[in-house]
């Protein structure tokens, strides 16, 4: 179970709506599976050089190459590495833990895509070496505009397992 204050859940939805049709992304921190802070991170995908797209896997890469830079951010996100590092540093300085990453799916369900799973597994490989805690992966779906849906997943061995979210009062 992941506990998230309603204010932070509302802010994640607001973030997704502000950036739509682009995907938004961010980081959640806290302690004991209770989120206390959210960091909005810039999705730099629309500004990435053509060559840099190869950080995505085969199928996603071909989809991205077919689109204009602006349209690419509608189907994927890439966190700004500097902002991600600053957030991780802030989390450490406050003696909190990295609890999760979130991003939006503006027109599809709140389920991890194959790209989400592949990159989450890549990160698993790195984060063990860097002694970081295992993060959850949260998706904000705007598929039904009037009923945004947020779900959290643990992704292990390329297999996502949904972890229930408990909304708490601020």
């Amino acid at each position: 179970m992941l506990h998230i204050p309603s204010g932070i859940l509302q802010d994640m939805i607001a973030h997704a709506r502000e950036l739509a049709p682009h995907e938004c992304c961010g980081i959640l921190s806290g302690k004991n599976q209770t989120v206390t802070e959210a960091y909005r991170i810039t999705n730099i995908l629309a500004n990435m050089a053509e060559d840099d797209l190869s950080r995505f896997d085969g199928a996603k890469l071909s989809d991205l190459q077919r689109l204009s830079p602006e349209e690419r951010a509608d189907i994927a996100f890439q966190m700004d590495a500097r902002e991600m590092a600053m957030a991780q540093r802030d989390i450490r300085s406050k003696d909190l833990e990295l609890l999760g990453f979130y991003h939006s799916h503006t027109s599809s369900p709140a389920r991890p895509s194959q790209t989400d799973i592949t990159i989450a597994m890549e990160f698993e490989d790195y984060r063990k070496k860097l002694n970081l805690p295992e993060p959850l992966h949260l998706i904000v779906s705007l598929e039904h505009a009037d009923r945004p849906d947020i779900r959290a997943y643990r992704i292990q061995d390329s297999h996502p397992t949904e972890i229930p979210i408990q909304q708490t009062s601020d």
Binding site: A49, F77, R82, A85, S113, E122, N131
Partner: protein, 91 residues
């Protein structure tokens, strides 16, 4: 020698290896020497101005080089350098 961890998207350039041993006294030297051994890899890590690309973090041991002295961060035998793309994904 410095153990350098290579991220998945760059492994085709290191013959599939996820770790390589490279000599060098700073992060910048390691990037140059890594590129001598595996041509083209520097361009994937750094932009035309020589700055680390916006989607990549480089760690020395467990610290991001942005909070050390950037590419001038000194390295000593036994240090580990990790090249890590920031989180990405998409529907």
């Amino acid at each position: 020698m410095i153990k350098v961890r290579i991220p998945t998207p760059l492994r085709p350039m290191t013959g599939g290896k996820n770790e390589v041993e490279i000599a060098g006294n700073s992060v910048a030297e390691i990037i140059d020497n890594l590129s001598s051994a595996h041509p083209g890899i520097k361009e994937r890590i750094c932009d035309e101005q020589g700055e680390v690309r916006r989607f990549i973090n480089i760690y020395v041991n467990e610290e991001d080089i942005r909070f050390l002295t950037g590419k001038e961060t000194p390295l000593k035998d036994g240090d580990e350098m990790s090249i890590i793309p920031a989180i990405a994904g998409g529907k």
